[in-house]
């Protein structure tokens, strides 16, 4: 019997790393969204910083999703 502990460790490290990274970036995006929406409601001006932060973060997450679809669909390989 052959057990590839390295591959198992690799799966664990990559999975935990990618999950935490995606969720943190997405959380920052949500925070930006909340800030921009909050500013709009509190009166007049929108928070450009918040909107930009949200846009950038969601774009980064979309890129990861695109890579995920690339991995799922064998025709792309």
């Amino acid at each position: 019997m052959h057990l590839d502990w390295n591959a198992l460790g690799e799966v664990a490290a990559v999975s935990i790393g990618v999950t935490v990274a995606v969720v943190v970036v997405f959380a920052l995006g949500v925070l930006g969204l909340a800030r921009s929406e909050g500013a709009r409601e509190d009166g007049g001006g929108t928070s450009a910083v918040g909107a930009a932060q949200a846009g950038l973060c969601f774009l980064a997450c979309a890129a990861v999703v695109a890579y995920g679809i690339y991995l799922i669909v064998p025709q792309f390989h």
Binding site: A7, S15, A27, L31, G38, C61, L71
Partner: protein, 384 residues
């Protein structure tokens, strides 16, 4: 079509029936948390998941070259054993569905095959070292990895968004959940539908209806995709309730973290050639997400029953598969018909039992328990 004997036709129908139970057993993996947090309406969620499963079935070209991935000696496997193994897997899937326990459809299939081959060809037909390597190790490791990933991610998500407006935060994570849940469904379609395609294709090859090394014909791909998609769409609401409500009360940041963890674990292991159970990964993620939110209640009793179900899935499916294989081996076509009829009767009985306390799209979020006997009082409402 004179190659298609009675037994081969029965195997194909049984394989599609297994595919159907696989679909409805596993809807919860992708959609339970989205339904629980309200990110998607229950009916919308199962529709998206069903369609993506069909799409996934058509996308997957790398159809399994072996029935079992080396767990049993494929040269000894006959269509009769495949049939017996599938019966074991289907009945176990239905049993766990009745009590609302998410168990692995892959383990049920492997278990059924192991039992059938053991009885049909002797214990040397089963490669026990492969069972440990391909089933036991991933089954222990994958939920833990997914759980740890979801736990850290959930903790950080709450920490980071604590200052944000609650309404915007909830809405943002709900939108994210739609994307993450869809990815889980697509990955599921490419993985699980092709298992059934592999079984049917290899049966056709062994019967001489297809040449060696032939890929699955289009009708096999279409049937397998439709069976798993339809099963997914009908939704195993009992299991969705357990996973979305039973383990812990899921909020949208937790749901997003859990689904992201499931997706990454499934994709990284598939990429590196580890076979694992989507069900166990998703359960581990949800448990981790429950622990990651402070003061979130995790129902360890439910988690314990789930773990127990995982432990006995393979042996139980193997037992049913073995008994069926004995009947097929000694009874020939007559034995096959008897097994098929008994299997259908037990399946019908389970469905009738489930009607006593049905769980469906309209009441899936009302309660956190799936009872078989006593109907849950309707006024209970959401369990806080």
């Amino acid at each position: 079509m004179d190659h298609i004997t009675f037994l081969v036709a029965v195997v194909i129908v049984t394989a599609l029936a297994f595919d159907f139970t696989n679909g409805f057993h596993d809807t919860a993996n992708a959609m339970a948390t989205s339904i629980a947090t309200g990110a998607l309406k229950p009916k919308t969620a199962v529709l998206i998941s069903g369609v993506l499963n069909i799409v996934g079935a058509f996308l997957s070209t790398e159809v399994a070259k072996t029935i079992s991935g080396g767990i049993v000696d494929d040269t000894l496997v006959t269509p009769g054993m495949i049939f017996a193994g599938l019966i074991g897997a289907i009945l176990w899937n239905l049993m766990t569905w009745l009590v609302g326990l998410p168990s692995s459809s892959s383990h049920a299939l492997f278990g059924g095959l192991i039992g059938a081959v053991w009885v049909g060809a002797g214990s040397n037909g089963v490669h026990f070292d492969k069972v440990v390597e391909k089933i036991l190790i991933p089954a222990v490791a994958s939920p833990i990895v997914a759980g740890v990933a979801a736990l850290i991610a959930t903790f950080l998500a709450y920490k980071l968004t604590a200052r944000g407006r609650k309404k915007s935060v909830t809405k943002g994570f709900r939108l994210g959940q739609i994307a993450s849940a869809s990815l889980v469904s697509l990955a599921h379609g490419t993985n699980d539908a092709q298992k059934t395609m592999g079984v049917i294709t290899l049966t056709l090859i062994s019967a001489g209806a297809l040449g060696h090394d032939a890929g699955p014909p289009v009708w096999v791909i279409a049937c397998a995709g439709l069976a798993i998609g339809l099963g997914t769409y009908l939704g195993g609401w009992r299991i969705i309730r357990t996973m979305g409500k039973g383990l812990t009360e899921i909020q949208s940041p937790q749901g997003f973290a859990a689904e992201t963890a499931s997706t990454t674990v499934i994709l990284t292991s598939a990429h590196l050639g580890f076979a694992l159970s989507t069900t166990q990964v998703a359960s581990g993620s949800i448990l981790g997400a429950g622990l990651g939110r402070r003061l979130a209640e995790v129902r360890w009793g439910v988690a314990g029953r789930m773990a127990a179900a995982w432990l006995i899935t393979l042996p139980c499916a193997a037992l049913v598969g073995g008994i069926s294989a004995a009947a097929v081996k000694h009874g020939g076509n007559f034995g096959t018909v008897v097994v098929a009829l008994v299997g259908a009767a037990v399946a019908a009985g389970i469905v009738v039992l489930s009607r006593r306390n049905p769980v469906h799209a309209d009441n899936v979020n009302d309660h956190h328990e799936v009872a078989v006997r006593t109907p849950a009082p309707t006024h209970v409402g959401t369990a806080a």
